[in-house]
Amino acid sequence: MEQAVPAGHKWWGGGKSPFNVEYGKLMMWYFLMSDAFTFGAFLISYGTIRFSSNSWPDPNEVFNSFPGLEGMNLPLAFVSLMTFILIVSSVTMVLAVHEGHHNNRKGVQKWLAWTIVGGIAFLACQAWEWTHLHHQGAWWGRNPFPNADGTVAHTGFANYFFTITGFHGFHVLSGVVINIIAYIMTLQGVFERRGHYLMIEKVGLYWHFVDLVWVFVFLCFYLI
């Protein structure tokens, strides 16, 4: 039988958080944990198919182009640029959170703006890479790249690449949108009136998670 609770009882109204954080930040952590399992499942599925194949395309042969330098063999070059863009945008986000701790609106604005620039730069790089691969004939269900041993590869390579980098890119896109909303709210002085910049911390957690996932996408698709 359901426990009778007096109307209007505030469960979280009177006490202390046992985790010493506010409710929204704790829930952001749990959301990110569940998202980590989603990405983990994608990457492990990719690994399973790769382990079940006798050979697999060599990433250094597939990802060897750089915008403006077509025709040259530059393995790992472009993805290194993308990785550094994301690391730098993560750093600017930490600095925005840091300024938020000191209630410095101007500082939050400056670093958040740079984070947005970094996010858009990353998305632009990914758009170029997808377009380039599409021109080479790769798409869902189509894989022009041969296996490392010269045999014809199945389409799993292209399917997993576009699905996982696409899912990650969608996270980056939503992160940029969330950052822009937080930036507008900072400009309007919402957090200043509220007396704390905890929203910037929560937005920052999501943004760092996007960077964290890229560490593993970079590892699984480009390095090994």
Binding site: S17, N20, M33, A36, G47, R50, L76, V91, L219
Partner: protein
């Protein structure tokens, strides 16, 4: 640092020193250096593959080192940039302990993929006539 006044559920506030810009810069340098080492190892694998006799064991070893370096990067991002290392122990544990599921998840699925490959490679149909009767050759 009087920003948390309106949040009564938060009992203890972070020390400002924990947040210093110096620590952020140090972590940035660590992450960049690890990434550069990973890229160097990636190029090393590329050179090995181009060579006459690629050693599978050496490539596997380099890949193992790259995976460990990536886990180190993940640790620095979560612990320093996401400030999980500054939270109280109970919060850290509710996030980290469920992630241990990945240990089983990775081992079980990669082993299963590998076993599937081996079974397929070793598969020899006993009844050749029956195999010919299926229009597309049955098993791959």
């Amino acid at each position: 640092m009087e920003q948390h006044n309106s949040l009564s559920e938060v009992s203890f506030h972070h020390e400002p020193a924990q947040d210093s810009v110096k620590r952020i810069i140090r972590t940035t340098v660590i992450l960049s250096v690890i990434t550069i080492i990973e890229l160097a190892l990636g190029f090393w694998i590329y050179e090995i593959h181009k060579g006459a006799n690629p050693s599978a064991g050496l490539v596997l070893g380099i890949k193992g080192v790259i995976i460990i370096l990536s886990l180190a990067k993940a640790f620095y991002i979560v612990s320093i940039f996401m400030h999980l290392g500054d939270e109280i122990r109970n919060l850290i544990m509710t996030i980290v302990v469920p992630l241990l599921l990945f240990v089983w998840f990775i081992i079980a699925f990669l082993a299963d993929g590998n076993s599937w490959k081996n079974l397929r490679n070793e598969y020899k149909p006993k009844d050749a006539v029956k195999q010919e009767q299926t229009p597309h050759g049955g098993g791959h």
